[in-house]
């Protein structure tokens, strides 16, 4: 196993995620294996349960994909769940991964969306 290469990949992912966490109000950003709902890389504040964000967002994204498919509007490329004390946004990237952000309720969704799409684009 090439541990050096792993470390380099880890740093690269971390740098990408930092572009998302820079947006004001973002509590954490993750790369998630969409189908499995597992964390691939994470940059989250203390107290954010990365594994829970990954599993639940992966599942919600799969469900929304099926709904969009049933409605005939194609593959979703941006997802936003708004709640009273927080928000989650997700964008699919290459190979079934998702770029996910968990944020305060008042986060600038427009900015966050752009940051996520940019990371997804770089990954592709």
């Amino acid at each position: 196993m090439d541990r050096g290469a792993d470390a380099v990949t880890g740093i690269r992912f971390r740098r990408l995620l930092d572009q998302v966490t820079r947006v004001r109000g973002v509590r954490g950003a993750l790369l998630v294996a969409g189908e499995d709902g597992l964390v691939v890389a994470e940059a989250v504040m203390e107290g954010v349960r990365a594994n829970a964000v990954a599993a639940l967002t992966g599942s919600l994204a799969r469900r929304m994909r099926r709904t969009a498919d049933a409605a005939g509007i194609g593959f979703p490329h941006f997802l936003h769940l708004q709640a009273t004390t927080g928000a989650i946004c997700a964008v699919p990237a290459a190979d079934g991964t998702l770029v996910v952000a968990i944020a305060d309720a008042e986060v600038n969704v427009g900015l966050l969306r752009l940051a996520l799409l940019k990371v997804a684009e770089v990954m592709a």
């Binding site: 349960r49 639940l56 049933a70 005939g72 997802l79 709640a83 009273t84």
Partner: protein, 272 residues
Amino acid sequence: MSDDIRAMTSELARDPGSLVFIPLGEALRARGQIEAARKVIRAGLERNPDSTDAHDLHARLLVDVGDLEGAEREWSLVLSADARHLGAHKGLGFLCYRRGDVDGALDHLELALSVDPADPNVLQALQTVRGVVAEGGRSAPAVPARHGEMAADTGPFSGVEGADRAMLLVDPRGRVLGGGLRNPAGIEVAETVAAQLAGVSQEAERTVRVLELGEWSSIVAEAADGNMFLCQALPDTILLLVRDRSVPPARMQVIAEKAAEQARAWIAGQTP
């Protein structure tokens, strides 16, 4: 799609005994060309009377035209040849449920689930029927006689843009309360989407509960051929709005808020 139909039609013309009449029938049915599909299937069955999939499709077409007895005969025939035919169990489960035979519906749906434990339609149907059982209701539940019948009632959203084709009000068990939804090809998809929406709402509730995000208020999905906006019109009622990509999510939220207000008034008016 039409290219596919053309290709399958020519293949059938070349070889009238071919089983291509089944996907052709399915494709025609999906486009809403029920009569053409029936014609293809009837002709195909004359040459392939033992094809259980063809009988299954024939049964669904009979449901489409309201001949439920005929459909039941067809599906029973399928089961006598193949006791584990998924489509036949789904169909008979639906027919049992329609006439209020909840036990019969459960039997067929559970058998269907044992054939394909991952079939989302079976899972959703089982959830609905089990919900009826849990409520103690073994009497005939209110279900639409045909696909789309309920969805044609645009009551809650009269006057709202796209009320009959791009807006749905759905109860927590995935049943359409009002509105209508057509896919970009113009086919009614209200019930299929409604069945998925019940799951979306549960997903959202679970997500905000586990992550301690308070109550969820809306979900937006931007997709290749349209945008989707989802919110809770009432604590247990989901409102879905679908628009093409020219309508930004923020504007969809405004439309949804107006529609939700109307839906609340409509539901209050429906309650005795």
